[in-house]
């Protein structure tokens, strides 16, 4: 079955999502939202993989996507655990407050 959406368009979307994710990470101060934005970036990469896989008509892209999902899940779970701890310690989720180490 021939796709009606061209690869370029999908890649463009993926790139857009990726840049949006970057922007989100940079702009947001709340750690949860930062994690969220990172997820967006990861998914953008996943999308790119899927698109690439479909270009070469291989399943590899989709396999990769599943791996990415799994990895993102693991990451988020640890991330959330850490966020809990941070909230516990700092009573805040503002990333800019986490500046104890520098120099």
């Amino acid at each position: 079955m021939k796709s009606s959406i061209s690869i370029e368009m999908v890649m463009l979307l993926a790139g857009l999502l990726f840049v949006l994710g970057i922007a989100g990470v940079i702009i947001r101060k709340n750690i949860i939202f930062m994690l969220l934005s990172v997820e967006v970036m990861l998914n953008a990469s996943g999308l790119a993989f899927v698109a690439a896989g479909s270009r070469w008509a291989q399943p590899d892209g989709q396999v990769m996507f599943i791996f990415i999902l799994a990895m993102a899940a693991a990451e988020v779970s640890i991330g959330l655990a850490l966020i809990l701890q941070i909230y516990h310690q700092h009573k805040s989720l503002d990333i800019d407050k986490l500046k104890e180490m520098k120099g």
């Binding site: 970057i22 990470v25 940079i26 990333i95 520098k102 120099g103």
Partner: protein
């Protein structure tokens, strides 16, 4: 006799070693015995050698003894070789003989000094170095002696080290002579590359072969050697150290700064006379330097109040005469004057030392006076010395030596009337300041109480020296007055005869002029300092005279000139650069590094969002580089 030669320098050196290593443990008597004894023994050895040399002149005109080869590098192989010919013999004789007398004198003179053994150690070392200087067969060994005497001069000028002024004078002497020495060292380089050796006989033998008359190389070499001589002999323009060198004990002044070391320049030029002969220009410069020095120093001597400074300037002036003689080619006259001068100047210094000691270390002549009757021995010996210095006609040795020089300054081939006139003027001034000194010290009323009288150990050397100051002149009499040439005959084995201009045979007129100038000088002093001292006061009213007086008094302002031109700038640069400007460069690097660190560490702000920004910017840079290229 040949193999006794090494004993001459070795004896004083042994004395030095014993005194330096064990001086603290020895009693004063032993110190004196070793100190004076070693030099006296050396004098006896010289006497033995000298007699044999004179009675059975060696075939080639010299004794030489090689002790060992100093080093052998690439064709440069100076040996430690002693070499004695007539010229050296005169010097060796003067050094050991006068040296021995001065040592004996010092036994009494220094009797109360706490550094008795140090004094004799240095004196012995000096005699050793000086002997090495005149006995050296090659220029490098000569240079060793040359620097060695400089060292001893330094040590002895600053002998009373507690006073920083003495130390300053000592360093001044060393450093100024070092300037000349350095030039001389360069001269040695030139000689080595020209002749491939530094051995004096070889150099002298090769020079006329290699260089034609007036060769440029000869001039360069001669001038470089001259620079060494000028430094050591306190001639213009390196004369400023000698008056200050009077800070040392009087025997030191007598031995080093009158009789021997300061005449090393004369020896060097006489020794290397062939090179000088090859360069008329250089020889002319020698003569001019001599004339100018004798003139300048004479006027300075006229204005001093410190008795030793008077004698110091007079020494400079008298060596000026010797240089003048060397410059006009009157080699033997110069050496003759050297010998006579050694006698009378040593005498004068020793006598002055005795006076100073008797007057409780009073140097100022204006505070002396009236000693004529109180210290008869000193007075008479001093008078004889002064007569010789002033070249009192006929009866003093100084007359015969100086007269020769005056005559040659006019009559020799390279002499000229101007030189002669300056020399004559010099003789006039010499007589004036000598008479002034005599009058101030011995006539008039006593201004300072005298202490104890000098003992036998001090007076006997004075008397012996006075004897020579009177009679040593008779071994060399003018043409028209006995024409005795014992001394020059001896020296003509080594040194050439002075060549006279054609038609010069009216020596008598010049002698009369010299007569007149001497008496004129004495009369002048008599008028101003004895008869009518108020005239001096009157003269001092005038600003011009006063300024002139101060100008002469300060040695024609040379010290000030050198301070302004050389010393102060160097010291200034040294002091502002004390912390080393180059280091600032590295401090700058450190500074930049630390600034960079500060900046970079500022980027490590700890803010996660900032880090992400950094990461993104890095990514953008990389991607844009990749896309662009």
């Amino acid at each position: 006799m040949n193999n006794l030669l090494w004993l001459v320098p070795a004896l004083p050196f042994a004395g030095f070693l014993i005194l330096a290593l064990a001086g603290k443990q020895l009693s004063r008597v032993w110190v004196a015995m070793i100190g004076a004894g070693s030099v006296s023994l050396s004098a006896i050895v010289v006497l033995i050698i000298g007699i044999s040399f004179l009675s059975q002149p060696p075939a080639n005109g010299n004794y030489s003894q090689t002790l060992w080869t100093w080093m052998q590098v690439a064709g440069f192989n100076p040996k430690i070789t002693l070499f004695l010919d007539a010229l050296s013999l005169v010097f060796v004789f003067v050094i050991t003989f006068i040296g021995a007398l001065i040592h004996i004198y010092s036994v009494a003179f220094m009797a109360d000094d706490k550094d008795y053994s140090r004094f004799f150690a240095c004196m012995n070392l000096f005699v050793f170095s000086m002997l090495l200087l005149v006995l050296a067969d090659n220029l490098l060994l000569l240079y060793l002696g040359w620097e060695g005497v400089g060292l001893c001069s330094y040590l002895l000028i600053g002998f009373w080290y507690e006073n920083p002024a003495n130390g300053y004078a000592a360093r001044k002497a060393f450093i100024i002579t070092r300037v000349g020495d350095t030039a001389m060292a360069i001269g040695l380089f030139v000689i080595f590359y020209q002749f491939g050796t530094l051995a004096i006989p070889d150099v002298l033998a090769k020079a006329p072969v290699l260089w034609h008359q007036g060769a440029q190389m000869a001039t360069i070499t001669a001038l470089l050697l001259l620079a060494g001589g000028v430094g050591k002999s306190a001639q213009l323009p390196l004369q400023t150290w000698l008056p200050d060198a009077m800070a040392g004990p009087s025997p030191v002044s007598a031995l080093i700064h009158a009789a021997t070391m300061v005449t090393a320049g004369v020896y060097l030029i006489a020794r290397m006379h062939i090179i000088f002969q090859l360069s008329p220009i250089a020889q002319m410069i020698v003569a001019v330097i001599g004339a100018a020095t004798l003139f300048i120093a004479g006027f300075s001597a006229l204005t001093q109040y410190d008795i030793k400074r008077v004698l110091a300037y007079s020494t400079i002036s008298q060596i000026g005469y010797m240089f003048l003689a060397l410059g006009v080619g009157a080699w033997t006259a110069a050496i003759f004057h050297f010998m006579i001068h050694a006698f009378f100047k040593a005498l004068l210094f020793l006598a002055a030392g005795a006076v100073i000691e008797t007057l409780h270390h009073e140097h100022n002549m204006f505070k002396m006076g009236g000693l004529k009757n109180k210290l008869p021995v000193i007075f008479w010996t001093f008078l004889i010395g002064s007569a010789s210095l002033a070249a009192l006609p006929l009866i003093s040795a100084g007359f015969y030596s100086k007269d020769q020089i005056l005559w040659y300054a006019w009559a020799s081939e390279s002499g000229n009337p101007l030189l002669w006139f300056i020399a004559l003027l010099g003789a006039f001034i010499t007589a004036a300041y000598t008479a002034r000194m005599m009058i101030l010290v011995f006539w008039g009323e006593a201004k300072t109480e005298i202490g104890h009288h000098p003992g036998k150990l001090m007076t006997v050397p004075l008397i012996i020296l006075a004897f020579f100051s009177l009679f040593a002149g008779f071994i060399e009499l003018p043409h028209n007055f006995g024409h005795l040439t014992l001394f020059s005959n001896l020296l003509h084995q080594v040194l050439p005869e002075a060549v006279l201009k054609a038609g010069m045979n009216t020596e008598l007129q010049f002698q009369i002029l010299a007569f007149l100038s001497t008496f004129g000088g004495i009369y002048l002093a008599y008028i101003f300092y004895y008869k009518q001292p108020q005239r001096i006061e009157k003269l001092k009213q005038s600003g011009f005279v006063m300024n002139l007086y101060l100008f002469w008094f300060s040695g024609w302002g040379f010290d000030k000139l050198y301070n302004v031109l050389i010393v102060n700038p160097v010291v200034f640069i040294a002091n502002i650069n004390k912390s080393d400007v180059v280091d600032k460069l590295y401090q700058g690097i450190t500074f930049v590094t630390i600034r960079l660190y500060r900046f970079l560490s500022f980027t490590q702000s700890g803010s996660l969002r900032w880090y992400i920004m950094g990461l993104v910017i890095g990514a953008i840079i990389i991607l844009s580089i990749q896309i662009m290229l």
